[in-house]
């Protein structure tokens, strides 16, 4: 997949997301518009419950908008049927989660290999890709370690290696430093910054932390379901 000729990779137009709790309707996103250029490192900030993660889920094809369009490189993600959406995610999206979400029963290398199981790569090719990804996050020596034997920062680096191992178009990070101490958090942010600058990865990162958003090339603020360039007062 390639970005459009004008460099726009992500386009969110007039998106609304409504959740239902009994008879109550909760409008999480209201007529939201967003454009992210290819190679951009965007930080999304906002108070809890402002809809940051919901927006990230819509961009990543994990959920569907109640109204509006979500296009990634010109492809209408919100219109893809479930099966094709899963294939699309496998090829184009890498997720990094706040709590790392590694499978505790698998070693670091087996965790990183998981997205590659959906490809037609041979075992040897998968191994090579895994080694490369773990090398990029500086964890090659700990490839055979289980998550429980790794620190939080190391686990998140494994999570990042898993997200980039398929060389996705877009990296979506949901509070990637939210569960880490400052030092480990900085290391992760440096890593994401390097992926953006050196590898040209487009990254959208949800965060509460102004220190984290400072590493991004652009920061947007979400409040009451709408985006703005200014922090919420």
């Amino acid at each position: 997949m390639n970005e459009q000729s004008d460099g726009r990779l992500v386009e969110v137009n007039g998106v609304e997301k409504v959740f239902h709790r009994g008879s109550e309707e909760i409008h999480v996103l209201r007529d939201l518009n967003l454009t992210v250029a290819s190679g951009e490192f965007l930080a999304l900030m906002g108070p809890s419950g402002s809809g940051k993660s919901t927006l990230l889920n819509l961009i990543g094809g994990l959920d569907r908008p109640s109204k509006g369009k979500v296009s990634i490189a010109g492809e209408r993600v919100d219109e893809l049927p479930d099966r094709r959406l899963a294939d699309w995610r496998a090829r184009h999206i890498g997720f990094v989660f706040q709590l790392y979400n590694l499978l505790p029963v698998l070693t670091a290398e087996r965790n990183v290999e998981l997205p590659l199981l959906l490809t037609h790569l041979s075992r040897a090719e998968r191994k090579k890709h895994v080694e490369t990804a773990l090398g990029m996050v500086g964890l090659a020596p700990r490839a055979r370690h289980y998550p429980r034997t790794l620190s939080g920062g190391e686990q998140q680096r494994v999570g990042i290696a898993r997200a980039i191992v398929t060389d996705p178009t877009l990296l979506l990070c949901d509070e990637p430093t939210g569960d880490l101490d400052r030092k480990s958090g900085d290391e992760i942010l440096s890593l994401l910054q390097a992926l953006n600058k050196e590898q040209g990865k487009t990254i959208i990162m949800v965060t509460h932390d102004p220190h984290a958003s400072a590493r991004a090339t652009r920061t947007l603020y979400l409040d009451k379901g709408q985006l703005s360039t200014e922090p919420v007062k």
């Binding site: 099966r83 997720f95 979400n101 087996r110």
Partner: protein
């Protein structure tokens, strides 16, 4: 195969729970294998019965005897190709009640002609015909007492004492093999002429007859003709197909098949609940992980297959080991040869058992697998957050 490691690793997540579930499935299928063996042991007579053979016994009861002269009359009835007689001897070896086995005075040539499934070398057959006190034992029986050709075997019978209050003495001249796996090779046969002459009472009487019909399709008609031949005599008969006779014999201790099905149904239902509960718990615990897999691009169908494969792997590991163990237990032979001479796990039962293993895996895993398939990614990930 590339997903095998993932499936296997998930099973190792809760080792104790997996082991206990495996053990339950193992015990269930071991029990299945052993019960099938016992059923086969009880009903071997039915399954091995010849379609062209009729059993002709006294109309009142099997324990009442018939005249030996009936054989010639029976052979004259249209549709009867041959007839031979049996008598229950109830022989005991070395005066030890536990050394009991089926023993019968017969006419050797007639027996071997009627039962082609008893395989006896020609030289041994000739020796039997020449030796008045000669006897033929089945392979299972000979192995049980470590008899070999030429051995002298002394038996006593609480029914048929020998004149002079002597034990019955035989010379083992033949050891027969079974033509099929289920052929009973635990019998002991000796010559009727020797028996009839030496017994204290009952001269000229036999236990029952076996008649071979020329056309199995007409067996019922011939049975009626035999009964009609001996109607209104002091020794009226009841003729019936060998299979029905064996079935009736087995049913004296109840319907083995019904008992077997009842036990196995209870066992399988319990195991289904145990395995199903294990899988349901496993899926519940991994909601977030399943959400992550789906976020990566694992399709709903693939998640369904992975959970089902996990369930089938538990069923296969426990079930096939159970069936294999049952086979190993039975391959060594009967632990009670006097009661259950035919003791083996039929290959058909093994195949049906393997089918049950697959069915258990699918049934135990299907609900959790559907639950995992329907899991919405955003909701699953929200649980983590």
């Amino acid at each position: 195969m590339k997903f095998f490691h993932l499936i296997w690793s998930n099973l190792k997540r809760r080792k104790l729970r997996t082991m206990l579930t495996l053990l339950s499935v193992f015990v269930a299928f071991l029990l299945y294998g052993l019960l099938c063996t016992i059923k086969e042991a009880f009903t071997a007579g039915v399954t091995m019965a010849g379609a062209d053979r009729l059993i002709v016994r006294h109309k009142v009861s099997l324990i009442m005897n018939l005249p030996v002269t009936y054989q010639a009359r029976m052979e004259r009835i249209p549709g009867v190709a041959a007839a031979m007689h049996w008598t229950w001897f109830n022989g005991i070896y070395q005066n030890e009640p536990k050394n009991f086995f089926g023993s019968f005075p017969v006419e050797p040539a007639a027996l071997l002609a009627m039962y082609p499934e008893y395989l006896l070398p020609e030289s041994q057959k000739q020796a039997w015909l020449k030796t008045r006190i000669g006897a033929m034992a089945g392979r299972t029986l000979a192995d049980r007492f470590k008899w070999k050709i030429g051995d002298r075997v002394q038996l006593t019978s609480p029914i048929w004492p020998r004149k002079g209050d002597q034990p019955w003495e035989f010379e083992l001249v033949g050891i027969y093999e079974g033509a099929k796996k289920g052929t009973d090779t635990s019998g002991f046969f000796f010559r009727y002429d020797y028996f009839d002459e030496a017994r204290v009472y009952g001269e000229g009487l036999v236990g029952w007859y076996v008649a071979r019909v020329t056309d199995p399709e007409r067996a019922a008609e011939v049975a009626k003709a035999i009964d009609a031949e001996f109607a209104n005599s002091p020794y009226e008969t009841k003729a019936e197909p060998e299979g029905a006779f064996a079935q009736g014999f087995v049913q004296q201790i109840g319907s083995i098949g019904t008992i077997l099905i009842a036990i196995l149904t209870a066992v399988f239902f319990t195991i289904l609940l145990v395995a199903g509960n294990t899988m349901a718990q496993a899926v519940r615990e991994r909601t977030e992980e399943l959400g992550v897999l789906k976020a990566m691009g694992f399709t709903n169908g693939l998640v369904l297959v992975l959970v089902l494969a996990e369930s089938c792997l538990i069923a296969a590991a426990g079930g096939l080991t159970g069936l294999g163990t049952a086979w190993l237990v039975t391959v060594g032979g009967s632990p009670v040869p006097a009661i259950l001479p035919v003791f083996y796990l039929p290959p058909e039962a093994l195949m049906v058992g393997a089918g049950f293993v697959g069915l258990l895996g699918v049934l135990a895993g299907i609900l959790p697998a559907v639950q995992a398939m329907r899991l919405r990614i955003a909701e699953a990930l929200r649980r983590t957050a």
